[in-house]
């Protein structure tokens, strides 16, 4: 452990100054231009780009990745205090006192995301060339994917909250378009709508947070807000923090806005891998970590973040245990893993770095597993029910091995990625101390065991055991254009965690931005060892249930917990009672308003004035009269109110 370097970091409490862009950062806008140009060419070019469109679609994220790598290399050459770079592209909004420059901020945090988005994004684009090869709308698919990459990059490199919000809405739009990509399937269309609406609820939180920031700090740029934040009152900071959390919950599928993610699996599998596993759903974690200087000032808001994370990590894991649809099981797992990241982010400087480390490692192993699930689905004629898989390990060896490595990584078997990135989160949760620390740590620990159970279950049901397919399914290994990205991601699953954590690489890189934990965590901690024991227990139980005996082709009735988990732990029922019922009630109310409301209001008032309205309605064309009457009533009220105010 390089305790010396960390110690120096701990001593330097002031964040590094924001410097003007230099060198290759001058062309940072190319990050946005490449994928945007790709989207424009593919979506506006129409059918004439069908033949070569997917090549453009792949080339653009790769080009952006090259720009990102160049900037990363340049950044490594600079001293740690000079790594925050900002450049203004143009003045977006100037309204008297209010100025929002449209600008780019390149710092260690954003460069991590740039590399993840463009790197993993490029691999998934390559995979999609093979996966979507039979789809007549492949060009449009790549157009939307490029649009997504552009919006996601805007989200992470904007130097102000308004720019982040624009990217935030952009990824929401792209996600909506891609979930509903097979719009002829009613389930896909409904899922797209559900995702959109759940995200809108979160977006209200984010937009209110931004407005509150503007009124409080007079600025929405990161540097401006963070500079002013310590001067604001504690209540305002907490309110901003909670509103940001609401936004993060919507985008990152955290309880209580989680239910859309499971349905979002209706989209093509590369979309699930890129948007609903590796990048977009982690935007909430980015938001929290980026807003660290605000959360650092409010222990209450931080605790709320941690609680949401802890609840979601158990919630997602339990759902993952009961799903027979391989993609939905993985979606539950995604929810759960993001819960870990949120939990870490909620621990403040003690956890920010680990949240990002887990996020990056998760980007590799979860994307890899989704691609594996996609290639299985591709070969099994779009079957996703794991009860109809089995015995695929010999037939699809590359898929099997890459999936296996991702599996070992996610459950945290040393020395794979998950071990290095998840255990520090559990340890940091316990290290928080007090009752809350113990509870959060226990939840995280329990989650590790459940993770091992459901992931082992997925492995056994998909790859092991006897073959439970239909006669017309003839799976064999997918072509190299699809296997090669899986191989690259599998390498990442194996090595990313160790690379980031060992030697405090990520800690030293991000530390100046996010702050560093007050205490060091060793590689082998008590919490980590306990987690390993629970992981082993989970694996054994899964083996006993699914490996030792044959898997029935139809789901057994199951106990009440399984039934609840199959129904997404009643997430939809909660939505229904909290969001939909009031909505329906509102709709009925507005029907009432539309048909009679305005008239009825008039009539009620009129009835008190001698029941004149009854006679008026008998007149053949009573509508203009009733309009005029409502105007009159409004006029009386208006005059009365104004006189009352004054007299």
């Amino acid at each position: 452990m390089t305790g010396l370097a960390v110690g120096t970091l701990r001593a330097a409490s002031t964040p590094p100054a924001t410097l003007p862009a230099t060198g290759v950062e001058h062309v940072a806008w190319l990050l946005l231009v490449f994928p945007l140009a790709g989207a424009a060419i593919l979506l506006l070019g129409g059918k004439r780009t069908n033949a070569w469109g997917h090549l453009v679609g792949v080339a653009m994220p790769v080009a952006a990745f090259c720009v990102g790598v160049a900037m990363f290399v340049q950044m490594l050459g600079q001293p740690a205090s000079d790594r925050v770079r900002s450049m203004t592209i143009y003045q977006w909004v100037i309204v008297s006192r209010f100025r929002v420059p449209m600008g780019i901020r390149i710092d260690p945090l954003s460069i991590c995301f740039v590399l993840l988005i463009t790197g993993v994004g490029s691999l998934i684009h390559i995979f999609a060339v093979g996966y979507m090869s039979h789809d007549p709308e492949r060009r449009r698919f790549f157009g939307y994917m490029n649009l997504f990459v552009a919006a996601m990059l805007l989200l992470v490199i904007a130097n102000n909250y308004l720019g982040l919000y624009a990217g935030w809405e952009g990824v929401g739009l792209a996600s909506y378009l891609l979930i509903g990509f097979w719009q002829y399937k009613p389930a896909a269309a409904v899922a797209a709508k559900k995702a959109f609406i759940a995200n809108r609820v979160g977006d209200v939180g984010l937009s209110l947070a931004i407005m509150l920031m503007f009124t409080t700090f007079g600025s929405v740029t990161f540097s401006g807000v963070f500079h002013e934040a310590p001067k604001a009152s504690h209540e305002v900071i907490t309110a901003i923090g909670l509103l940001l959390l609401l936004g993060a919950c919507g985008k990152s599928a955290q309880v209580p806005l989680q239910s859309w993610l499971l349905d979002a699996m209706e989209g093509p599998t590369p979309v699930s891998a890129l948007i609903h596993a590796a990048t977009m759903v982690t935007a909430g974690v980015y938001l929290i970590v980026r807003s660290g200087p605000i959360f650092n000032l409010s222990p209450g808001a931080r605790l709320a973040v941690a609680i949401v994370g802890a609840v979601t990590l158990l919630f997602g894991a339990i759902i993952g245990c009961a799903k027979d649809d391989i993609k939905k099981a993985l979606a539950g797992s995604t929810m759960s893993q993001i819960g870990y990241m949120m939990l870490a982010a909620g621990l403040g400087p003690a956890g920010y770095v680990f949240a990002i480390a887990h996020l990056l490692a998760h980007g590799f192993f979860k994307a890899g597993m989704f691609l594996g699930a996609g290639s299985v689905k591709h070969e099994m004629n779009d079957e996703v029910d794991m009860r109809r898989f089995g015995g695929l390990d010999k037939i699809m060896p590359v898929t099997f091995v890459t999936f296996l490595l991702g599996y070992l990584a996610i459950i945290g078997v040393p020395p794979l990625s998950g071990f290095f990135t998840k255990d520090p989160i559990i340890d940091a949760a316990f290290a928080k101390g007090g009752t809350s620390g113990a509870l959060l740590g226990t939840a995280a620990l329990l989650g590790a065991g459940i993770t091992a159970f459901y992931m082992t279950r997925v492995m056994f049901m998909t790859f092991a055991g006897e073959r439970r397919w239909e006669a017309d399914q003839h799976p064999h290994e997918v072509p190299p254009v699809m296997t090669s990205p899986m191989v690259v991601l599998a390498i990442g699953s194996v090595a990313a965690g160790g690379f980031l954590i060992l030697g405090n690489r990520l800690l030293n890189f991000l530390g100046p931005i996010t702050g560093v934990p007050p205490t060091s965590h060793g590689i082998w901690t008590k919490a980590g060892l306990a987690a390993l024991v629970l992981v082993a227990v989970g694996m054994v139980i899964a083996w006993a249930l699914y490996g030792r005996r044959p898997v029935p082709a139809t789901a057994p009735a199951g106990n009440p917990v399984t039934v609840a988990a199959r129904k997404d732990l009643y997430g939809d029922a909660v939505n229904e009672s909290l969001l939909m019922r009031p909505g329906q009630w509102l709709t009925r109310l507005s029907v009432f308003f539309d048909n009679k409301g305005i008239d009825a209001l008039v009539n009620t008032v009129a009835a008190t004035f001698g029941g004149t309205s009854g006679r008026m309605r008998r007149v053949e064309n009573g509508f203009v009269r009733s309009y005029a009457l409502s105007m009159l009533v409004g006029a009386v009220l208006l005059v009365g109110a104004l006189l009352l105010v004054k007299l």
Partner: protein
């Protein structure tokens, strides 16, 4: 107009009229008068071409003159504005901005009116619907070319309305803008009865609201002894006279103005009239009339009642809240696309009202920007409505729009763009403009109003998204409507609307700068 009563007994001097300052107004009215002569003398087959040339030329010329006036008389002198025509008309920076906006919007609306591939206007409006006379007119290929001069007269009134510096001029402007609109509403070619009903309703309720306006003028004259806005402000400041007269006057005058902008509870005419009118006329009303009425409302409440902000603000809060909420909630259940846009327009009026309530320069500039951005987008939306047609004319019922995205992705995509901007999604003009008014309202201390505004726009996003889902994720009906191929006029209107929506969303700064500059000194007194 005033102050001359006393002078008559002594001497009478010829009033001074600053023709150069009034030249945009005069040009529009002159073009309208020439239009009437064209109607009287030009042969039938030449009329339409002549009318289009005169209308577009007149409006473009007036726009150029507005800019010339702004540069030569206002900026050159470094003045915030001047009062012309013996105090009847104020020519100041906000007015010039509003007039410029109206002229641009009117120009684009006239493009829609001029569309010839599918005529929107009746052959013989005087013929009984369904009668032999009507059929004869249709067979003879007649159409009412009077719409052009009527539009120009109305636009002239709209230009005068926000510029009027005394209440009588304002009343005359109100009538000049309204009367041609009443006629235009009744001229729809299809669904004649609905159109006539719309015209009748608009006329009756408009007359009703004019009475309120006039009554308010009388009260204020009784209070201050003058109809000049500045004199009323002075009297209100000194605080002598009966407060009852003053506040009743404010309320009644306000009612007349709120009717025209379509604020709840004075907006029940809007859905019926928007639905029944020929769609190009609806576009004209939804854009130009709204801008003009807000211009007048801003002037009256900032100039005449500017000292009394604390007194009228609570009531306006109530009106704005009602307008935003009722407009957005009722929009949810609409099944007719024009009624949906009408309720949307009501809610949007509520958002602009929050800018008015701010009563500061940011509120004025935000409102003006909002009106310009919304006006151009709403014309684009109505232009799309004219294109989606079935056997009965425009396919008004939303169910027939199902699957439009599969038949005509471009048209459906553009309509989706306009809906997205109405919903206020970032990178469209709707976001920038909502941001501007809400920000001004927060500065003006109206945070609760802004919260309700955000909630209302969240509610309003629902019907919009429903339409988008319907267009892109539903299967088209086999006998559904077709999208007609428009001539250059409608295409130009749609293109201008879409381009402005995107440009004002991505690079709003140039127009925001102009609006800020225009609002920097508020109105001249």
């Amino acid at each position: 107009m005033t102050g001359s009563v006393a002078a008559i007994t002594h001497t009478i001097a010829a009033p001074s009229i600053e023709w150069s300052l009034l030249s945009p107004l005069v040009l529009v009215f002159a073009a309208a008068t020439v239009g009437v002569l064209v109607e009287a003398f030009a042969p039938r087959d030449l009329r339409r071409a002549l009318h289009i040339a005169i209308s577009l030329g007149g409006l473009a010329g007036a726009f150029v003159l507005t800019i010339v006036v702004a540069h030569s008389h206002i900026f050159a002198g470094g003045k915030p504005g001047v009062v012309a025509a013996v105090g009847a008309v104020a020519v100041d920076k906000p007015t010039l901005f509003i007039q410029g906006t109206i002229l641009v919007l009117a120009f684009v609306s006239v493009l829609l009116i001029a569309e010839s591939s599918h005529d929107a206007f009746a052959a013989q409006a005087a013929a009984v619907p369904g009668s032999a006379a009507e059929r004869e007119g249709l067979l003879a290929g007649l159409t009412h070319t009077e719409v052009y001069p009527l539009t120009l007269f109305s636009v002239g009134g709209m230009l005068l309305f926000p510029a009027a510096n005394d209440l009588l001029t304002m009343f005359i402007a109100l009538e000049v803008l309204s009367l041609p609109l009443y006629l235009l509403c009744g001229l729809a070619r299809r669904r004649r009865l609905l159109s006539q009903e719309a015209a009748m309703k608009y006329f009756l309720l408009g007359a009703f609201s004019s009475a309120f306006f006039l009554f308010g003028v009388a009260m204020l004259y009784g209070y201050s002894g003058s109809v000049q806005l500045a004199a009323i402000a002075t009297a209100a400041q000194s605080g002598v006279g009966s407060a009852t007269l003053l506040y009743a006057g404010i309320a009644l005058l306000g009612i007349g103005l709120l009717f025209k902008i379509g604020a709840i509870p004075f907006a029940n005419w809007k859905p019926d009239v928007y639905q029944g009118s020929p769609t190009p006329v609806t576009a004209l009303m939804a854009s130009c009339t709204l801008v003009s009425a807000f211009g007048a409302l801003l002037r009256v409440f900032y100039v005449a009642f500017g000292q009394l902000t604390w007194d009228w603000r609570p009531v306006m809060w109530g009106v704005a809240i009602l307008t935003m909420l009722v407009g957005s909630i009722v929009a949810i259940t609409q099944t007719d696309v024009k009624r949906l846009l009408a309720y949307s327009s009501i809610a949007q009026a509520g958002y602009v009202l929050t800018g008015v309530i701010a009563a500061n320069t940011a509120g004025l500039s935000g409102s003006m920007f909002y009106l310009a951005a919304y006006g151009i987008a709403t014309i684009g939306a109505f232009a799309i409505v004219t294109l989606v047609r079935d056997q009965t004319g425009e396919a008004a019922h939303l169910s027939s729009w199902a699957g439009l995205g599969k038949r005509s992705p471009l048209v459906a995509g553009l309509f989706a763009l306009f809906l997205i901007t109405f919903a206020g999604i970032p990178l469209t003009s709707g976001f920038t403009s909502k941001f501007a008014v809400f920000r001004a309202a927060i500065q003006g201390g109206a945070l609760p109003l802004v919260i309700i505004g955000v909630i209302s726009s969240a509610i309003l996003a629902f019907p919009y998204v429903r339409v988008i889902v319907l267009m892109f994720f539903s299967d088209p009906a086999p006998d559904g409507p077709v999208v007609v191929r428009p001539s250059g006029f409608t295409s130009a209107a749609v293109a201008v609307g879409a381009a402005a929506t995107l440009v004002l969303g991505i690079i709003p700064q140039p127009l925001l700068n102009i609006a800020n500059h225009a609002a920097s000194h508020l109105f001249v007194r």
